[in-house]
């Protein structure tokens, strides 16, 4: 819409409003008296022999009309109603009202966030109210991958089992939330023959106490000690520097069945936790960290 059209519609509105108000007033004023000869006449409406009297309205009814007109005028002075250039003496707008409401909410909740942001996560994890806030943020933001109960899904770690890829200290948890993590298991398929692959699968199973073919596992161990130990460590307990999982605890990110272990070794895996620092802001990330920390560090009495 160009400027001229805008101006036309402005005046269109203004003129219509004024004509309406003045017209109503004039109509009310001019019709407040009727010819006396109408007295006691009916309106001429007859329903089943019942006639309708043309009785006068009470006088205060007329005053109500005048009051509504006065109300309109006051409204049009206070609020923007007469074209886009007149803003009204209250200078009200939807945007301003929204900003004001956001400001009010900030004033109300910011002190609470500030208070909690100053408390160390370990301590915050004992605070029922803070945990409640953290939980609500978690359920909104994190449930897609980790589940609303935090127990994860295949490929997305369980946050309740105190088994950590990247470390379970309060600082490490918060770092994971704020900066995200990317864990890469390269695919070893091309480097391994069938015996070596099967041996590795058997050995990895053995580490978690599965019943396996001991001979094959021995072959696997030799491969493990030359290749896999770099990330998963000599004892297979993993390394939180790379997010390499502990292979000895029978907790599986991508399933512990032989088929799936073989698939993981052959094709590799990539797990991404996106960075949430900018999405949540520090105060909320702090609360989520406290909630996640509390999932693995609950008091017995809270269970």
């Amino acid at each position: 819409m160009n400027e001229n059209v805008n101006e036309f519609w402005d005046w269109w509105i203004i003129v219509l409003v004024v004509i309406n108000l003045v017209g109503c007033l004039a109509l009310l004023y001019w019709t407040r008296k009727v010819k006396a000869e109408d007295e006691n006449e009916t309106t001429g409406h007859i329903y089943d022999g019942i006639e309708e009297y043309n009785n006068p309205l009470p006088h205060w009814w007329l005053n109500l009309f005048y009051i509504t007109l006065a109300f309109s005028v006051v409204y049009l002075v206070l609020y923007p109603g007469m074209g886009t250039d007149y803003k009204g003496t209250l200078d009200w707008s939807q945007e301003k009202q929204h900003e004001q409401e956001v400001q009010t909410a900030k004033e109300k909740y910011q002190p609470l966030f500030d208070k909690y942001a100053a408390i160390p996560i370990e301590q915050l994890a004992q605070n029922k109210d803070a945990i409640g806030m953290g939980k609500r943020i978690f359920v909104n933001t994190c449930f897609g991958c980790h589940g609303s109960d935090g127990r994860g899904n295949p490929g997305y770690p369980d946050l309740t089992d105190n088994d950590w890829l990247w470390g379970g200290s309060a600082e490490e948890i918060k770092f994971s939330i704020v900066n995200g993590r990317t864990g890469v298991m390269p695919g070893f398929g091309p480097m391994l023959n069938a015996d070596q692959l099967d041996g590795l699968v058997q050995y990895v199973g053995q580490l978690s106490g599965h019943k396996v073919d001991a001979n094959a596992a021995e072959t696997g161990k030799q491969v493990f000690d030359t290749q896999c130990f770099v990330c998963h460590g000599n004892d297979g307990k993993g390394n939180k520097m790379f997010g390499a999982p502990n292979l000895t605890d029978d907790i599986w990110l991508y399933s512990g069945s032989s088929t799936n272990i073989a698939k993981t070794i052959k094709e590799g895996r990539t797990g991404v936790m996106p960075a949430h620092g900018e999405i949540l802001g520090d105060a909320k990330a702090h609360l989520v960290a406290a909630y996640v920390y509390s999932l693995s560090n609950q008091n017995e009495s809270d269970q």
């Binding site: 006068p56 006088h59 609303s148 512990g256």
Partner: protein, 462 residues
């Protein structure tokens, strides 16, 4: 059109000025009944907010928190059906009483009548009886008139303010409201509502009075739909009263060819809506029976029989049988009883617990490493009772279903707690892709407080 306005054509107002009515004070059985009714209703209204129950205000409509406290019952927005039923019930009872006894409500129980009665009583106290009031209004403004008017309006406004304050006291704890008022620390909306209801009381009961009944009240207009020829109405006995005429007390009216009506106009003077009941049944009549009382007094003085104006029905007046129980009233009675039954049943069987089940939808299901199918649910458990409660959650509907997560939860009164539960079933238990399950939430402390909610357990495509 204005050129036709000449001297010869007279004009009158399209809008009629309110004709001030000076109802005479009346004594008698029905007036006494109304006083009892006024005292009971206003007593209830003004005292009830001060009654406490279990440590809270017995009746409090807490709108910001969206909770209605009614003694040991707390109603939530989830109980809206009860409010709807209560309104239906109120409407039906109004219809029923109308069919039985006409405008019983108008004459004795309507707030408009009750407060107008009180305001009239104050007016009578300050300005005197009907004649004195009429004389006072005709007088030019002087010391006496100013003083009396000032005192009257002062009392009216004080009473109206107290009424407005009490009204808001049903929505905001009334004791805090009192201190807030004294310290001028109330919010703008509390002042607004106190002001509005004070103004409404003052305006309706002091100024508008019968105008409310005549022009604003919808009931006055549609009650005729509930009327039949057996409905109790107030009527003047034409056959007995006419022809009307003044006569000495010792004169035999028959000799003069007169009826029993001595045309003293007392029935008109006492009428709060300013009508003449002798003109027959009119929509303006609020059936307050003031004319019955005053006419009975006159008849007694004349040594005539009472009841020239009386409660009767069109059929009774015509000498036909006028049964109280007839199809119309029996049907209303049936509907009324049915609604009472439903309301009582709903309130008695109400479990003050609300649970919402939300299924995780990003992952419809997942396969656990031990070959089970898992679904994750959030249960939002709202304790609507006035005490802390502990609930136990179990799941039914599928074989060998197991629940991971906290299944016992303690929720404070009015609090919502969220349970996140992961359900697992062996893949072979799932016969279909979508399976109906039930979350059963049982109150650990109270028997028979069990809530069952249907949900869907999703598995792989079969």
């Amino acid at each position: 059109m204005f050129s036709s306005r000449t001297q010869s054509v007279a004009f009158k107002d399209l809008y009629a000025k309110q004709r001030k009515i000076y109802p005479r004070q009346v004594h008698g059985i029905y007036a006494r009944l109304r006083v009892v009714s006024v005292l009971l209703l206003l007593g209830f209204y003004y005292l009830m907010p001060w009654v406490t129950w279990d440590g809270h205000q017995a009746i409090l409509f807490d709108l910001p928190a969206r909770k209605f406290h009614l003694f040991s019952l707390t109603l939530w927005p989830q109980d809206f059906i009860l409010l709807a039923l209560l309104l239906v019930f109120s409407a039906v009872s109004l219809f029923m009483f109308t069919a039985f006894a006409g405008r019983l409500w108008c004459g004795y129980a309507c707030p408009q009548t009750v407060w107008t009665e009180t305001f009239l009583w104050i007016e009578h106290l300050v300005e005197g009886n009907r004649n004195q009031r009429m004389k006072l209004d005709k007088k030019p403004w002087g010391l006496e008139k100013t003083t009396k008017k000032f005192i009257k309006h002062f009392l009216w406004i004080t009473f109206a303010l107290f009424t407005g304050y009490t009204f808001v006291g049903y929505f905001t704890p009334i004791k805090e409201l009192w201190t807030g008022m004294l310290q001028l620390s109330l919010g703008p909306w509390e002042w607004f509502w106190i002001g509005l209801y004070s103004l409404a009381t003052y305006g309706n009961a002091g100024k508008l009075r019968e105008q409310v009944c005549l022009y604003m009240c919808p009931y006055a207009r549609f009650q005729s739909a509930m009327f039949d020829k057996d409905t109790l109405i107030i009527a003047y006995d034409n056959d007995r009263g006419d022809p009307r005429g003044k006569r000495k007390k010792d004169v035999d009216p028959k000799e003069k060819g007169l009826g029993d009506c001595i045309d003293c106009n007392q029935c008109v003077h006492v009428c709060p809506t300013g009508i003449d009941i002798r003109d027959g049944l009119q929509y303006e009549c609020i059936a307050c029976a003031a004319c019955v009382d005053v006419c009975d007094n006159v008849m007694m003085q004349m040594n005539y029989d009472k009841g020239l104006i009386r409660y009767t029905s069109e059929n009774a007046e015509a000498g036909s049988p006028s049964p109280l129980f007839r199809t119309r009233t029996l049907m209303y009675l049936g509907l009324f009883s049915l609604l009472i039954g439903v309301l009582v049943y709903l309130i008695a069987s109400r479990i003050p617990l609300d649970v919402t089940v939300i299924k995780d939808r990003v992952t419809l299901y997942s396969e656990s490493f031990d070959g089970k199918i898992e679904n994750t649910f959030q249960l939002k458990v709202l304790n609507m009772s006035q005490q802390q409660q502990t609930y136990d959650v179990s799941v039914q509907g599928l074989d060998n279903i197991t629940v991971k997560g906290q299944v016992k939860i303690t929720v404070d009164s009015g609090e919502i707690q969220t349970l996140a539960l992961r359900l697992a079933v062996p893949a072979e238990s799932l016969k279909k892709q979508s399976n109906t399950i039930y979350f059963v939430i049982k109150n650990v402390n109270i028997d028979d407080q069990t809530h069952s909610i249907r949900a869907k357990f999703i598995g792989p495509n079969k």
